[in-house]
């Protein structure tokens, strides 16, 4: 697929918008999902996802064709979503750490080997609960968690997308995971 994408990018640089349409088709679901998981609103997610593709198109000449296109595209989309989230939120929430995420000493007494719910209704409720808790995460943890578990990207790719050292990415995923654990353990 990378070879197809590379070929399409060359065509886009020459001004071929149909070739760009094919690139959008390839990545639209993952970019839309990324935006939705980050923003929690379908309308905004669609708007941001479209914006991400438009920026990619406009800046296609600055894309280094030796690199992975998806990494570059995810970076554009992630930055757009983070900007949007910052504009939406009151400031005090920006740098708030997840309560207890540092300590990790609050051990649960509840037996936790409950199987995943099977009926569709339960599954839908669970999905909503999980989405809600993801949206409660501070943006830096949320971004890392979404890229890791929704987009199933490797830690290395996430570190490239966010332009952060691998160690920082790991810490954010650990803290995000711990925060979600605390929120979801009674589900």
């Amino acid at each position: 697929m990378d070879a197809i994408v590379k070929k399409r990018i060359k065509q886009v640089i020459k001004g071929d918008q149909d070739a760009f349409g094919e690139i959008v088709e390839i990545y639209k679901n993952s970019i839309y999902q990324l935006c939705f998981r980050m923003l929690g609103n379908r309308h905004e997610a669609e708007d941001m996802a479209q914006e991400a593709f438009i920026r990619a198109y406009v800046n296609i000449k600055s894309f280094n064709q030796d690199l992975k296109f998806s990494t570059w595209l995810f970076r554009i989309a992630t930055n757009l979503c983070i900007d949007r989230m910052r504009k939406k939120k009151p400031d005090y929430y920006l740098d708030a750490e997840v309560a207890g995420a540092e300590g990790l000493t609050m051990y649960s007494q509840i037996p936790s080997n409950t199987p995943l719910p099977e009926s569709e209704l339960e599954s839908l409720q669970l999905q909503e609960a999980v989405q809600k808790e993801i949206l409660k995460l501070p943006d830096k943890y949320r971004t890392a968690i979404v890229l890791k578990y929704m987009e199933e990207l490797s830690l290395n790719e996430i570190s490239e997308i966010l332009d952060l050292p691998l160690g920082t990415v790991k810490t954010r995923i650990h803290r995000g995971r711990e925060a979600l654990r605390q929120q979801l353990r009674y589900v």
């Binding site: 839309y32 936790s112 999905q127 995971r177």
Partner: protein, 208 residues
Amino acid sequence: MCPEQIIELMHEYLDDEITPEQEQVLREHLLSCKECESLFNELKKTVAFVKSISTMQAPDNFTANVLSRLPKEKRRIWMQRWMKNHPLLAAASLFFILMMGSLFSTWNQDKDFSVSKQKNLVVRNNTVIVPKGETVKGDVIVRNGNLDIEGEVQGDVTVINGEKYLASAGHVTGQIDEVNEVFDWIWYHIKKTSQDVVQIFGDQPETK
């Protein structure tokens, strides 16, 4: 109290970055510590929950909507076609867009007398003379000076910011242009540019 390191190992495990030795340490601890075992199970459950969220589909018409919001690249393609079909107008537009800014300064700076180089042209006090009985071959261009044609010019004559006298015996085989006003000057450049454009597009066979 359990060592902080055990929780680190749980995360290393969940990141698939744990070494077999570390995994051994973790497993041994979990066997002997209910609290850590339960924490570990919760973390695994959390990951399973997050992964269980179904994959989302972009809304209908997403791609079409993106394409409709792109800057109008197609207009550029349309422009190219239009320019091929209307070289004079295209050159005029191009000329106005690109040159208007620098034009008037060019017009003002361009005060020096100059004349195209032909052997039998005679120059006297900013007046170029095509002597009687002589034949000048090629286009004659005089800037900021006058032209007195008493002989024959085999080609076009252009006098920019000057006057031309054509004696009764004088003869010009091509076109005669006098450019004295700023707008004449512009028009002269437009025609010149459009001829260049016609040549450029004429040389290129249409692709596709």
